[in-house]
């Protein structure tokens, strides 16, 4: 087949063309000579390609033409196109499928957790920006399918991915709006029964694979702790038997030693008529005293032996606990690297067994080889020293340094029929000194005919003076008393409409918080019962007719927990005193309630401890009883001896006369 000569080569008409279009683009001198020889110039200087080209020459021209084509441009067009295709594919996936996929995964995951239908709408995410947001989320209630467990409006989470790469967690915004519970649904939230069936086989496989029970049974003969526990059981059994016998022997010994005492106790001292009898009895008493001393020593020694045995048993118990820990470590070491890899290894083996069937033993032996080779690796002695790292100086430029954890904005908005509660907190961080903003927080509660706002700042940065400030603002509150007040028993209901404004801040270096709040009562309606006495009725009348009036509360919270409340009101001194007294009474009542609560909480614990202690001291009390018995015997003996001595002294006189 004849090779065609490319048109480029035929369209060379001048020497300049030849140089520019061919010779300049060919580097090898031999090839240049070849090209020059292909062309001939006529008298006018016009270049023409030879007519009688051999097939070898045509082949060479084709080769050179391919080189010319290859040498065009500076980019690798093939690789660039491939890169553009991959990039385009990722871009398309990101634009059209990524969010749907994430939405689907999140819905399925939440359905698995809550066992009820979950819907997410309008999900948008960006890995580069580190953001995730959706327009709404509804999670059904599996127990009440026509109601939602949780429903939200828009949810937004923005993180700084650049800081995540620096191991810092910076949350730019986390907000939940229109959060509500128990809202009705139009469709049932019950899941189809098929969904549950899909999950079970996988779960079973894993459960089977993670069989620690089987592992324990297999290694049971090699463990130390069961053997030690058995030994302990025998020793404690023997000790109990031994001590039963010893206590019986002790009883017998002490009773024998006390026998003379009992005899002596029964002796009628009035029958002693002379010194000899008295002396004999006194000698017997001295012997009894010595015997009682012996019994005391015997009890002390036995008690000491009991303590030694007790300590020995405690030590053995502690040894068993340590042995259990060591056995666990040994079991992990025997299976490979220990830790979670043990379970993973077992899981891998089980999955191989199930998936590969008859080839499973081969795969298992390969796995063993891999494990043994990985065990042999960590000999680092022969590893070559790393190449010297090229260092330099790091010049520091001012950078926005972020704390390890920072939440710039967290917002929760709760919706309840006509009420809306919004809480927001800003600039929470693990290192407040590093972050440029103080902590801001706000709380807002708005109803159909009232509002209540709290704004606060907490600044504990090192380079700024400490500051804690809370501003309060509100209007339109109605206060109904469902239960009668302790200080105003006749008051059945009070409806107060008031506005409030004020602030709380750090007042001195002792970290005391102080502030002033102004309450303006615009309307006060009180409904009092018939049982109110005349004085009460007067007070209620004064209060009811006094609006509008103001109450200024001056608060001071000291670091020790003490609270100083000062009230000023336009109602005058009497009302002020009454309010103060009421406040004090309320505080005292709270205190008493708190004390009672604390005691009621602690008392079961104290009772429990008491029982434990008495059980513990049960054995020792036996020795104490014995000791007390001996002591009482000694006391009895002493009084007996005193009586005898008196008797002897009395008897002596008539003999002397």
């Amino acid at each position: 087949m004849k090779t065609k000569i490319p048109s480029l080569w035929k369209n060379i008409h001048t020497a300049a063309d030849l140089e520019k279009r061919l010779l300049k683009k060919i580097s090898l001198p031999g090839d240049k000579d070849f090209i020059k020889n292909l062309y001939s110039a006529d008298e006018s200087g016009r270049m023409t390609l030879k007519d009688d080209l051999s097939s070898a020459e045509i082949k060479k021209i084709s080769q050179l033409h391919r080189v010319l084509k290859k040498n065009r441009g500076i980019f690798q067009s093939g690789k660039l196109i491939l890169f553009a295709v991959i990039f385009g594919f990722l871009l398309l996936f990101s634009l059209f499928f990524k969010d749907r996929l994430i939405e689907h995964i999140m819905e399925r995951s939440l359905e698995m957790i809550f066992q009820a239908k979950t819907e997410i709408t309008g999900l948008r995410s960006s890995l580069i920006k580190g953001s995730l947001s959706f327009s709404s989320l509804t999670i059904g209630d599996k127990d009440a399918p026509m109601y939602n467990l949780v429903e939200t409006g828009s949810v937004r989470i923005d993180m700084m991915t650049s800081q995540l790469l620096r191991k810092k967690f910076v949350l730019e915004e986390a907000s939940v709006t229109a959060l509500s519970w128990g809202t009705p649904r139009t469709t049932s939230a019950a899941l189809r029964s098929q969904d549950k069936k899909v999950l079970s086989p996988q779960k079973k496989t894993l459960e089977k694979a993670l069989d620690t029970k089987a592992l324990t049974e297999a290694l049971m003969p090699d463990f130390d702790s069961p053997r030690m526990a058995q030994e302990y059981k025998e020793i404690i059994k023997e000790a109990r038997k031994n001590w039963e016998e010893r206590i019986l022997a002790l009883d017998e010994s002490t009773e024998t030693l006390k026998e003379d005492y009992y005899t002596l106790q029964k002796t009628d001292l009035s029958s002693v008529k002379n010194v000899t009898q008295a002396k004999e009895l006194l000698d017997t008493a001295s012997e009894v005293k010595a015997n009682l001393q012996k019994a005391k020593t015997l009890i002390r020694e036995t008690a000491a032996d009991f303590q030694t045995d007790k300590e020995r048993l405690s030590t053995m118990e502690a040894d068993i606990r340590n042995a259990i820990k060591k056995d666990v470590d040994r079991a992990l070491a025997l299976t490979g690297r220990g830790g979670p890899s043990l379970l993973v290894n077992q899981a891998v083996e089980e999955i191989l067994r199930q998936k590969l069937g008859k080839y499973a033993p081969l795969a298992s032996s390969l796995l063993d080889k891999i494990r043994s080779s990985s065990k042999e690796k960590p000999v680092k002695k022969d590893t070559p020293a790393p190449l010297r790292q090229r260092r330099g100086w790091d010049i520091l430029f001012p950078v926005s340094r972020y704390p390890s954890v920072l939440a710039e904005k967290i917002l929760v908005d709760i919706k309840e029929e006509e009420r809306r509660v919004t809480g927001e907190i800003k600039n929470i961080s693990t290192h407040p000194a590093m972050w440029r903003e103080p902590i801001d927080f706000s709380y807002s509660d708005k109803g159909s005919n009232y509002f209540f706002d709290i704004l606060g700042v907490v600044d504990v940065r090192r380079n700024a003076p400490p500051l804690i400030r809370v501003n309060l603002n509100g209007d339109g509150f109605r206060f109904s008393m469902d239960e009668p007040s302790s200080s105003l028993p006749a008051l059945n209901e009070a409806k107060i409409r008031y506005g409030a404004t004020g602030s709380l801040s750090l007042v001195d270096q002792n970290s005391a918080l102080g502030g002033e709040f102004l309450f303006t009562v615009t309307q006060l309606d009180m409904n009092i019962g018939e049982e109110a006495d005349e004085t009460e009725k007067v007070i209620y009348n004064v209060l009811s007719g006094a609006s509008p009036f103001t109450v200024t509360a001056q608060l001071k919270f000291l670091p020790g927990g003490e609270t100083d409340i000062g009230l000023k009101t336009s109602l005058g001194q009497a009302l002020q005193d009454a309010a103060k007294a009421m406040a004090s009474e309320e505080i005292a009542e709270q205190k008493a309630r708190l004390e009672e609560e604390l005691k009621s909480r602690i008392s079961p614990l104290l009772e429990e401890n008491k029982t434990e202690l008495s059980a513990f001291l049960g054995n020792e009390s036996l020795f104490n009883e014995k000791r007390e018995s001996i002591l009482s015997s000694e006391q009895g003996l002493s009084s007996l001896m005193d009586d005898l001595k008196k008797k002897a002294a009395g008897s002596l006189l008539p003999f002397q006369l």
Binding site: S27, L28, N71, K79, L165, R388, G392, D394, F397, S400
Partner: protein
Amino acid sequence: MPFLLKIFKALNSNQRPGEIAAGASFALLLGLLPGGNLLWIALFALTFFLKVNLAVQMALLVFFKLLAPAVDPLLHLFGYAILTFPPLYFFFTWIQNAPLLAFTRLNNTLVTGGFAAGLLLWLPSFVFFRFLIRRYREGFLRMIQNTKLYRAFMKLPLVVKFQKAARAVSHLPGRNR
């Protein structure tokens, strides 16, 4: 072996001298620039999309990497001078605060010095290497090719096989240079 064959073939074929020279110049730039930062990785990745001779680049990169520590003191001084040049203060501050650019480690004297020196030397080295290749092809290669010894050598069975191997390498998929 295919690696050396590629270099040999590149030098003795009609591949543009500029492609080989660009490979050498990029090797110089990457050699002077310390590794382990985003800038190095980006530059290295860039060369895969440009028509540069990667075999020459890799071979010379090893050479320049070994040589670079000898010129580190100079690169450090150069980098330090750039980083502390007041008009560039805001530029480097911006780089340090930009999300990904911070990982280029351009605040390091060696990185900046190596990068700046590499950029400055890129064009002269490109011109120099291109000149060398042209001189080699037009002078040395022509001279060698015209000797009787060369002609006799090229007819040796082993050399013929070597040439065939070189051709085979050049036709392997993905190894066209």
